[in-house]
Each structure stands twice: as structure tokens, then as C-alpha cells.
């Protein structure tokens, strides 16, 4: 029964009828169309829905709308004036505090309330006060800077200066290399940016999935009669109603059904889908679907799963549940180990972690009357969704339009096509109405595609001087029920160990094992973080064994430019040594190492990643990134159309900067349309850290094509040869006599008037023939590689085992940073995410395969109160294959964190923990065991 309430929102009085169970959040979003307030967890754990209710910041997801009757609410929409942003919004925009923007409205509302309560908070007070608002992108660093800037604005104080030494490779550039605010930041700061769940269409229905409650079972029957009879239910689909086609991510391992066919393989596997007038009716209908299961024995541990008698997930493939096996041998490890003076082998175990982008997945599908379907979705890769839908719906690409809305973070969780992307299309077709489907936080965990837990046996041999002679690596990846990206993860786990240090002899034995758990996939650093954690840990242990400084052993073996690794990866630019030297110096490594009190420790870790995969996921000859630039008829604006996806990392801005630099215009002269399959040419999207290099090259090329045509037009106006002209800062001028010039837009206007549309095209394909000839040689290839090093300092409470991370000093070779502020944001976010994975994160399952912590209350991620001081440096570097010398930073920056933190903890407590996450419980146990050994001896 609905009741009428009166509520004042941002100064406007509303009289609304609401249901008893409607929360203030749903009232704002669904009834009042104020979608700036975001829905992140729905349980008060993330703060994305923070609004100010009668003067106090509250989680609007935990307030009943009826309880807010008669009250005053302030939301993000009520903050800015019509002309000016609120000082807090302004500061967030300027300081780079906004990445995906999904936590931003709640975060900004909280900051407003903090500064209302205390106009002059200290940094520590800010960190504590913001700890109810989770952010997964920024590492909170730039958010804190923004609060300090906002404080200065409001109090009329001077802004703190940013110390930044521009990179040499950017000194002569006009746009690239500048610390510019992201172009989407103002819309994200004001709640105007529309994410998929913020959209609604006339007659729109909602869809939900019925998930398996059992880890392994045959489906004997499904009865939907009672559910269909529920008023408001419009359609129910089961495995019988969808095409019999396997899909997934990697073609050799397409093994998922759209909806379960006869069998479910994990708690969360998809059994049926329902469409109804609202989500509540969907949930009620799900409870009325009767499924008869015949339970099968299940297996959750990969070691058990590989045994002969273990239950099989697939009868027709993956013998012994071995989904993928890789056997690589480069050089001769026997010879290599024979040359070694010291050999050490240890077992390391990773953790099962989930990306947890703050925005839950959401998709809306709608069919037109011409047989075309349009899907709005929160994805990282429009093209792969497009490609999968084409296969599954059996339609040409041209009959499908996939539009990425603003995307609230991905980190790999939105790299694979999701069941809701597919099922919203089917349900929309079935019902003839648009259908919106979204995951709640629990469903996100159950859909999975997070990090594989790896069991790693690593053996390294070195000479007395620290030279690495051989590396043997065996990894078992617990993969969950389906393949997703997993085959690639398994290859990456091996191939990327060779890019940081030079060694000639290497053996990798990799196994990806299916278990009755949610499928694992690609998570930032794809397959590499656990092996890298193992390698960096073991290398530091070996350094200790042979009495060498851990940084020195790294310098001894450090990768150098123009080197071909033992597994045939071609390294070009490489400033790894500069990274190591930078962190050594700024961390005061030499004075700290060995001189810190018990409980305090320092450690080094290194990393690096591909700047885009050398080959696409499925065989295709299309260029990987493509750009079109269209100049408005009056020359006033360039429209950049790019298929690659801005998931918060800032690619729209970075790509626009590359295009502007190439065209000779400033950033106020460009607008970006990205990731819409009707409008933008194909791009492989945001994964494998590919966008800056590949998309950047495509945009640069398109920009250069524009410039060439414009210079020609200008040469006709100025009556000079086009060869002596240059375009820069919105002017076209004679290189030697800059006083002879015309405005850029005049040339654009003239071009259009004489020739019609001014369009530039650009495309990028990695060099042909990258990598070796052996099976799996493609994974790990890239046009360029990033490098990074970090030193971490921790303090450990020796009585409780709790680790406090004090500092990360990191340095990155990302080539030329197109936008240094964004690059730092990537590094800072990677630090805090990596730290969070090491200290807190782990998916836990009960003995029946049901996840016990599928929320943000029990699956902990770092808060602002946990963040360390971070000092990031971008070293001077230039990558010839990259646009203006640029390479990646987003994923590579994660890789050094795990090892550095593990090494710092080991240094602090005097004993090594080999298994992630490094919880206080494990730390205390390790300390106790070490004490016992010491007292026994």
C-alpha cells in the first residue's frame, strides 16, 4: 500500500506516493529522477548513496522513504549553482580526484558535510572522516588533495602548490604532458554523468536471473507456472528458450551456456531469467520458480579436482578438470641451475579476489521494429560484447548497437561479456519492451571473473654475484566453473615473468583447473600479480641468502632496452634501472635497511606489464584501435570518435589530448564520443592496458591527417607552401615567421567551404609477427612494456599482527605520460588496490561452495583510513612505438605492490608469510612460530 509523503529535495517540495519498503535512495533515483545519487552496495557499506538529510550525511540506502517524510534532503544535484561548481566539486575536478566517478557524488556530499562540521580538518581527520565512502579507483590520494584544496577555497586560503617536474619528452609539447582535469570530471562531479542504471525508457521492464543454490547438480525439471501467474511478470526464460550455443571469452574455451542446459556447475550458475514490471516483482517471481535438482558431488580445491576420482565438471572435455595446461621451456634450465651458486625453491599461494568496481553491472536492451537491438551497458569492451551478441543472437554486427554509458570502474570485472548483457536482449525480444537488468553486489561476486588463486612453486638459481641463471615456475590456477579469460590468465602467469630481469633459462608449467566455484577471469595485472609476488619475494629472500642488498640484486639483473627475452618478447624502451634508483633514493633505503626497529620493515618490489596485447582475443585482422575525427563546419570544434572505452581510467581525456597535440589545438576545442558501435569505429576497448598506446596512436594518426589537410587549406589562404606551415595552440603559422598566421578555425572553415567535410582517420595495429613461434607465444607480446619499482615501509603490531602501511615510494616507466595527473591517479589507485589485496581481500566459501562474504561488509577493501602516504614518480622515458612516446601504467602499477608489501612485512617481523592475504592472524602465527623455533634452538 502506497503512502503519500512530503519531502523537500534541494529546496523543492515533492509530494510523492511511496511503498513502505522504498528507500530514500530509490525514491530519489526512481521517483524523482535524481540519479546523481548512486547505488553501490545497497547495504550501507560503500557510501555511494550518501546524501545530506536534515543537515547530516547518511546512507540513503538505509533510510526508508517514509521515515524521511517531512524532512529536507540535499543531493549532489543541489550543490552547484547554475553557473559555478561548488568549491568541493571544483576541487575534485581540478585535482584529478575523479576517475570512474561512481563514488564521486556520495564522496562529494560527505566532503561538504565534513567541511560544514569542521572548516579546517587535518589530513588525518579527513582520512578518518571519509572512511565511510569507498573508492576503488583513486587510492584516495587525490581525493584527500581535493579536500585540502576545497578547504583552501572555502576559507580563502592559498592553494597548496603541486611539485611536478615535467618529463623531458613532453617539454616541447603543448597539450601532451600537461596535468589537465579529465573532460568528463565536471559532469561526474555534479551527478549529470549518466551510468546505465541511471537510464530509463518508456515501458521499460526489469529482469533478474535465477541462480543455482547448489554447486554441482543436474536440472531434472523447471516449473515456471506459479511464477508466470504472478501479476506483473511478463516473461520467464530457461535453458530451453535460448539458443544452444556455447559462449565465453576465448574461442578455444567457449564453454558457457546462456542459461544452464541440464546442469549447474557452481552456486550462482544461471538457471533462468525473469522479466517483470519492477525488480521487486522479479525477485518474488524467482522465489516461485520450482527447480528440481539432482545434486552431484562437487569439488572446490584444485589439487583435489585434478585427482582421478574427482567429480568432473565437463564430461566431454577438460580431463581431470584440467582446463588448460601449458608446458614451456626456454633455454635449458638444467644447465642454468648447474651454473648457479645458490638455488632456492619455495611455494607461494595467492588469494581469490574480486575487482569490486563501485558500479554494479547494468544493461538495458531494446529492439526496434526493424530487427535491430540496442544495448546500453556498463562494459570495458564494447566490441567483444558486440561480437558475442552477434554470435549468440545470430545477427550481423550491423543489426546490433552496443553503447557503453559512463562506466563506474571495471578492473577486468567488465571485460568479459556478461549474462545480463545477453539475457536483457532475449527478454527484451520476448516481451517487446526495453529490459533493464542489473547485478546487485552479491550477484557481482557470483558472476565472478575475479583473480585466480594461484599455487606457485618457484625456483630461482643465482650466481654469487646475484646473476640469475635459471627460473623454474609451476603454477596451478584455481579457475572456477568456466573458462572466461582463464586460458589467457594461465599463459600470462608464465609469460610475463621474463620481462623485468634478464635470464636465459626458464621453464613454466601452468595448469588452470576447473572447480565448482564462480569462474575466475581477468583482474588488473591479468594472471601476473601472484607470480610476480612470488618472484619478488623469492628474489629478496635469495638476496638475503647470499648477503646482497635486494635492490642491488635487481639492478644486477635489470632489464635493458632493446632486449629479446628468452620467451621471445621484444623489449624496446626500458628505464627500469632509473625506477630502481629513484625509489632507492627517495625512500632513504640505504639508511633504513637493517636499521629499523623490530616491527618496522622496508621492502622492494617491481613490476611491469604489456602496453596492450599484441593479438586480439579472437582471430581478427581489424586494426586494434581506430579513430575518426570530424571538424565542425566552422572549424570551432573537433569531434573525436573512438571505439576504446573510458572506464574511469581517463582514456577519453588522454586520447583527446593525443589528438589535440597532433592537430595543434587546445583541449577546449575537442569533444569525444567513445564506445558506441554505431558511431565509433571498432576498438578493442579497455583491457590489457592497451588504450593509451593503441588508441593514442590511432588518435594521433587521425589528428595528423586533419592537420595535413588543414595546412593545405591554410597554405592556399596564406599563399605559401604547406611545408613551411605548422599548427599549434589553435593557430596555423609559418614555422620560421610565427607572426604570419591564421586562426586554426579559419582554415577549418575554409576547408569545409571548399571541399566539404573535414575528416581524419587513424588506426593502429601492433607490428606484425610479434613473438615466437611456439604454442601460446602470442600471450605476453606487446608493442611496448612498462616497468616500475616500489619501496614499501610498514609497521607491524607484534602483539596483534596488524600491519600498518606507512609509505609507498614508487617510480614508473610509462614512457611519456600523456596526462601526468591521470597517470599518477592510476599509480595511486594501483597502490591502494594492491595493498588491499595483500592485507584484506579473499573470497571465502563454505563447504557447499556458497560464498560467505559476497558483500562489502565482510569482503573488506581498503578505506581512506587505511591508505599510506604515496609518492609516485614518472621517470624520463620515451617509447618509439607509443604516441608521443607513451606506454601503459594502469595495470603495471599494481604488480610491484604485492611483493614490496610482503617483503616489508617479512623485514619487519623477521619471518616470511607465503600465502595471501597476509592477515593479522597469519602474521601473529608466523611470529609465534618463529619465536618457538628460536627458543627451541
Amino acid at each position: 500500500m502506497k503512502k503519500i509523503i512530503n519531502i523537500n529535495v534541494n529546496g523543492d517540495n515533492h509530494e510523492v506516493a511511496v511503498r513502505p519498503g522504498t528507500t530514500l535512495l530509490d525514491l530519489l533515483r526512481d521517483e524523482l529522477n535524481l540519479t546523481g545519487t548512486k547505488k553501490g552496495c545497497e547495504l550501507g557499506d560503500c557510501g555511494a548513496c550518501t546524501v545530506i538529510l536534515d543537515g547530516k550525511a547518511v546512507n540513503s540506502c538505509l533510510v526508508l522513504a517514509l521515515d524521511a517524510d517531512g524532512k529536507k534532503v540535499k543531493t549532489i544535484e543541489g550543490l552547484a549553482g547554475s553557473k559555478h561548481l561548488h568549491p568541493v566539486q571544483q576541487a575534485f575536478v581540478e585535482k584529478g580526484a575523479i576517475q570512474c566517478g561512481y563514488c564521486t557524488p556520495g564522496m562529494i556530499m560527505r566532503v561538504v558535510s565534513i567541511l560544514d562540521e569542521n572548516p579546517d580538518p587535518t589530513k588525518e581527520e579527513i582520512k578518518k572522516a571519509l572512511s565511510g565512502n569507498l573508492c576503488r579507483c583513486t587510492g584516495y590520494t587525490k581525493i584527500i588533495e581535493a579536500v585540502e584544496a576545497a578547504k583552501a577555497y572555502i576559507n580563502g586560503m592559498e592553494q597548496p602548490e603541486i611539485e611536478y617536474q615535467p618529463q623531458k619528452s613532453a617539454l616541447d609539447l603543448s597539450v601532451v604532458g600537461k596535468r589537465l582535469p579529465k573532460i568528463d570530471a565536471p559532469d561526474k562531479a555534479t551527478g549529470k554523468a549518466l551510468f546505465t542504471d541511471d537510464l530509463a525508457f518508456p515501458k521499460m521492464l526489469y529482469g533478474k536471473l535465477l541462480l543455482s543454490p547448489l554447486p554441482h547438480a543436474l536440472i531434472k525439471s523447471i516449473n515456471t507456472k506459479r511464477a508466470l501467474a504472478l501479476p506483473g511478470v511478463k516473461a520467464i526464460m530457461t535453458g530451453d528458450d535460448v539458443p544452444d550455443i556455447k559462449w565465453g571469452t576465448s574461442p578455444p574455451r567457449y564453454d558457457e551456456n546462456v542459461l544452464a542446459k541440464n546442469k549447474v556447475r557452481y552456486v550462482g550458475d544461471v538457471v533462468a531469467a525473469v522479466a517483470a514490471v519492477d525488480e521487486e516483482t522479479c525477485y518474488k517471481a524467482l522465489q516461485l520458480i520450482e527447480v528440481e535438482y539432482e545434486e552431484l558431488p562437487a569439488v572446490f580445491d584444485p589439487m583435489e579436482a585434478m585427482k582421478e576420482a574427482a567429480p568432473r565438471l565437463f564430461d566431454d572435455k577438460y580431463e581431470n578438470n584440467i582446463n588448460t595446461h601449458i608446458d614451456h621451456h626456454f633455454g635449458d634450465i638444467d644447465l642454468g641451475f648447474a651454473e648457479a651458486d645458490h638455488i632456492r625453491e619455495e611455494r607461494f599461494v595467492g588469494n581469490r579476489t574480486y575487482q569490486n568496481p563501485m558500479e554494479p553491472h547494468c544493461s538495458i536492451a531494446e529492439w526496434d521494429n526493424h530487427g535491430r537491438v540496442t544495448l546500453h551497458t556498463s562494459t570495458q569492451v564494447v566490441h567483444y560484447v558486440h561480437h558475442q551478441l552477434s554470435r549468440i543472437l545470430n545477427l550481423p554486427l550491423g543489426n546490433i548497437r552496443v553503447i557503453m554509458t559512463y562506466c563506474g570502474g571495471g578492473f577486468g570485472a567488465k571485460a568479459a561479456t556478461t549474462t545480463i548483457e545477453v539475457m536483457s536482449c532475449f527478454l527484451a525480444k520476448e516481451t517487446g519492451c526495453p529490459v533493464k537488468m542489473r547485478f546487485n553486489r552479491e550477484e557481482m561476486y557470483l558472476f565472478g571473473r575475479g583473480r585466480h588463486k594461484q599455487y606457485i612453486d618457484l625456483k630461482i638459481g643465482v650466481k654469487n654475484d646475484g646473476t640469475i641463471t635459471a627460473v623454474k615456475h609451476k603454477a596451478i590456477l584455481e579457475g572456477g566453473a568456466y573458462s572466461s579469460f582463464g586460458i589467457v590468465s594461465a599463459y600470462y602467469a608464465g609469460s610475463m615473468l621474463t620481462t623485468l630481469y634478464k635470464f636465459a633459462n626458464y621453464k613454466y608449467d601452468g595448469y588452470r583447473i576447473n572447480t565448482n566455484l564462480p569462474p575466475c577471469g581477468a583482474f588488473r595485472g591479468h594472471g601476473c600479480p601472484h607470480p610476480r609476488f612470488a618472484f619478488e619475494s623469492l628474489l629478496s629472500m635469495i638476496a638475503d641468502d647470499i648477503g646482497m642488498d635486494p635492490i642491488d640484486i635487481r639492478l644486477k639483473n635489470a632489464m635493458e632496452p632493446e632486449y629479446r627475452t628468452c620467451n621471445d618478447l621484444d623489449i624496446h624502451s626500458c628505464e627500469f634501472t632509473a625506477c630502481l634508483e629513484d625509489v632507492k633514493k627517495k625512500s632513504h633505503w640505504d639508511s633504513k635497511r637493517g636499521n629499523l626497529p623490530k616491527g618496522r620493515g622496508i621492502g622492494i618490489g617491481c613490476g611491469g606489464f604489456v602496453s596492450g596485447a599484441g593479438y586480439p582475443i579472437y582471430r581478427s585482422q581489424f586494426p586494434h584501435s581506430n579513430a575518426i575525427i570530424k571538424i565542425l563546419e566552422d572549424g570551432s570544434k573537433a569531434m573525436l570518435y573512438i571505439g576504446d572505452a573510458d572506464i574511469g581510467q581517463g582514456s577519453d581525456t588522454v586520447l583527446a589530448m593525443a589528438a589535440c597535440e597532433a592537430m595543434g589545438i587546445t583541449m577546449d576545442r575537442i569533444s569525444v564520443v567513445s564506445a558506441d558501435s554505431d558511431l565509433t569505429p571498432i576498438g578493442f576497448g579497455a583491457y590489457s592496458s592497451r588504450v593509451t598506446l593503441m588508441g593514442g596512436n590511432a588518435c594521433k594518426m587521425a589528428g595528423e591527417e586533419i592537420k595535413k589537410q588543414l595546412l593545405q587549406a591554410a597554405s592556399e589562404i596564406l599563399n605559401v607552401d604547406a611545408n613551411i606551415l605548422e599548427a599549434k595552440d589553435n593557430k596555423i603559422y609559418v614555422k620560421d615567421k610565427p607572426e604570419i598566421s591564421i586562426p586554426w578555425e579559419d582554415a577549418g572553415f575554409a576547408y569545409f567551404s571548399n571541399n566539404g567535410p573535414l575528416v581524419g582517420k587513424g588506426h593502429y595495429s601492433p607490428p606484425k609477427g610479434l613473438g615466437g613461434k611456439y604454442k601460446g607465444a602470442a600471450v605476453g607480446t606487446s608493442p611496448a612494456y612498462s616497468f616500475s619499482a616500489t619501496v614499501c615501509e610498514v609497521e607491524v603490531d607484534m602483539e596483534t599482527g596488524k600491519v600498518k602501511v606507512l609509505n609507498f615510494w614508487d617510480a614508473h616507466d610509462c614512457g611519456t605520460a600523456i596526462n601526468p595527473m591521470s597517470a599518477e591517479g592510476q599509480a595511486e589507485g594501483a597502490v591502494v588496490m594492491g595493498m588491499s589485496e595483500v592485507l584484506f581481500e579473499n573470497e571465502v566459501f563454505d563447504k557447499n561452495g556458497k560464498m560467505l562474504n559476497a558483500d562489502l561488509h565482510n569482503y573488506l577493501i581498503a578505506t581512506s583510513a587505511d591508505m599510506p602516504e604515496i609518492s609516485s614518480t614518472l621517470v624520463d622515458s620515451y617509447e618509439p612505438a607509443g604516441p608521443f612516446g607513451a606506454k601503459e601504467i594502469g595495470e603495471g602499477a599494481t604488480l610491484p605492490i604485492l611483493g614490496a608489501l610482503a617483503n616489508a612485512i617479512a623485514n619487519a617481523i623477521g619471518v616470511r608469510i607465503f600465502e595471501l592475504p597476509i592477515t593479522p592472524e597469519k602474521v601473529l602465527k608466523a611470529i609465534a612460530e618463529a619465536n618457538k623455533v628460536n627458543s627451541d634452538s
Binding site: 547495504l43 550501507g44 526508508l64 578518518k128 572512511s131 602483539e799 596488524k802 578505506t863 587505511d866
Partner: protein, 295 residues
């Protein structure tokens, strides 16, 4: 997620609220909602009548009389943190309140809701129990006052009967020489559920412990007074209560002996005992410090 159907009732005052709770089937009182709405959304709890206490102003006070501080059940954790009375007389309660959830949760969550949720890891109860706090329980016809301890029956189970509401918490004022401290151990720096918590109250007279209370949290189905620890503390000369001293170790061992922790995703039972052992020592020293300042 959604909240399943219920009838929403919003009494204007205490009397109406008690009447509704007594007479409506399956009626549940809604205070700040920070626990209850989570339970309703996740389906852990169902109710057919939700009695919102939003307008029950009788619950929203913090006052003092000669002998006690009285806090209405509808007072939020934020209000506790800001209250000058609390800060003056029971600073440890303000400290405990500051450790609950996030700022947003503390702005809505109430003291009454926190104790009535009766979670083993409840952050406000240990301090209150260590101060011998009592609660007033009302129903449509009766009023009674019981020790707060007696509200807790098991993890997330309270002893309230149908129609009953906790209306206020009564905290006896402590005399000179008394100090209270609260230590909480969670897995991250903020928004963490207590893995272990301890509250220690010490009263010093003539350089020794005249009275004491040690309440341990999250290591048993309910917050629990460690009788053994109190037994050792009382009569101990204060100069012996120093880091790693024999009496302090014995008290901490006694607290561990009184705990009955479980294994869960936040920590194993043995780990909880280990942390309790360390936390108790720290808490005693901090409580002693504040007792010594309070002369």
C-alpha cells in the same frame, strides 16, 4: 534488493508506539535502521508491521542527575560523540561510539538500536556494562529497570518480549579515581566489525584497585564480564600494573579464560584469544592512566 512487504506505522509519541508494538502482529521497532534495514533487505528478517520511532521524541535526550547520566535510546552514535555530558563523564563511551560503522552509519544508528541488535561484537555495550549501566524497559503497561547485561541472551538475540522497548540507558556516575577505556580490534582502520573488544573500568583508592570491571566483546555470544579478571584486579596495588607485569598478565589470562570465542571469517578462536590477551593489557594500562588523571 528490495524490502519485502510490511505495514508502516509511525506513532506520534511513546505511548502510541508501545500500544502498536503490543497490539500489532509481528511488530518490529525501527530506530536508525542501520541494522534492521540490512536484515530486511537480505531477507534475514521479515516483519509484517514496522513501527518507526522517528517521531518518538521521548527517546531523544541526554541528561544527568546526581547519580547518573541517562541517555535516551533514540540518541545516535554521533550525538553521543558530540555530547558534552558524555565527553565529561563517560569519554570511553564517546570513544566506543566513534568506532561504530562509518560516519553515515553513526548519524542514523542509535544507542538503543545498537544494544537491542544484541550482536556479540556490539561496540557500545562493553563500556556501558563495565560501568554497570542499566536500561529501562517499557511496555504498554509496565516499566522496569534491569542491568544492561541482562538484555543480551545470545548473538543477535535479546531478551525483550513482545511489546517491550528499551527507552533509556542509565549510567551511574563514577567517582574520583575512576578510569574507563575501550579497545577495539578490527581488520581495517575504519568500518570494521570488532574481532575482539575490551572495556576496562578501574577505580583507584589508596594506590590500589578498589573496584574494577573487565568486559570482553566479540569473544562470546554476548559481551561478557570477566569475573576472574575482576577478581585479580581488585586489591592489586597500582604500581604493579605496568606493562608485562605479573598481575597484568594474570588478569589478561583470566580474561582469555572467560572467553568462549568461535572461528569465523574474521578470525579463528585461538587468534581471538591471542588478541584478547594483548588488548586487555593495553586497555588496563589506558584505563589506569585515565583513573590516575581523574583525581
Amino acid at each position: 534488493m528490495y524490502v519485502s512487504d510490511f505495514t508502516y506505522l509511525r506513532p506520534k509519541n511513546l505511548e502510541e508506539a508501545l500500544d502498536l508494538l503490543q497490539n500489532k502482529d509481528d511488530a518490529v521497532a525501527l530506530a536508525g535502521g542501520t541494522d534492521l534495514l540490512v536484515e530486511l533487505k537480505t531477507g534475514v528478517r521479515l516483519c509484517s508491521h514496522l513501527v518507526s520511532l522517528a517521531d518518538v521524541e521521548e527517546f531523544k535526550f541526554i541528561k544527568e542527575d546526581e547519580k547518573s547520566i541517562q541517555i535516551g535510546a533514540g540518541i545516535t552514535h554521533s550525538q553521543i560523540m558530540q555530547s558534552s555530558l558524555v565527553k565529561e563523564h563517560i569519554p570511553a563511551l564517546a570513544l566506543a561510539a566513534s568506532k561504530i560503522g562509518s560516519h553515515q552509519v553513526r548519524n542514523n544508528g542509535t544507542l538503543g538500536g545498537n544494544i537491542c541488535s544484541a550482536a556479540a561484537c556490539c561496540d557500545s555495550a562493553p563500556v556501558l556494562i563495565s560501568l554497570n549501566a542499566q536500561i529501562e524497559i517499557l511496555d504498554a503497561t509496565n516499566k522496569k529497570i534491569i542491568p544492561l547485561e541482562d538484555l543480551f541472551q545470545g548473538n543477535k538475540i535479546n531478551t525483550l518480549k513482545k511489546g517491550q522497548l528499551v527507552s533509556k540507558v542509565i549510567i551511574p556516575k563514577t567517582g574520583k579515581g575512576t578510569g574507563v577505556h575501550y579497545e577495539k580490534f578490527g581488520l581495517r582502520e575504519a568500518m570494521a566489525v570488532s574481532v575482539v573488544s575490551v572495556s576496562v573500568m578501574l577505580k583507584i583508592k589508596n594506590e590500589s584497585i578498589e573496584n574494577a570491571s573487565v568486559v570482553i566483546g566479540a569473544v562470546a555470544p554476548t559481551p561478557k564480564v570477566s569475573v576472574a579478571a575482576v577478581g585479580i584486579l581488585i586489591g592489586t596495588p597500582t604500581h604493579l600494573l605496568v606493562e608485562k607485569s605479573d598481575p597484568i598478565l594474570r588478569v589478561s589470562e583470566a580474561a582469555v579464560g572467560d572467553s568462549i570465542p568461535i572461528d569465523d571469517i574474521r578470525g579463528g578462536a585461538q587468534y581471538r584469544r591471542d588478541v584478547l590477551f594483548s588488548l586487555t593489557q593495553r586497555c588496563i594500562l589506558k584505563a589506569l592512566e585515565s583513573a590516575q588523571k581523574n583525581v
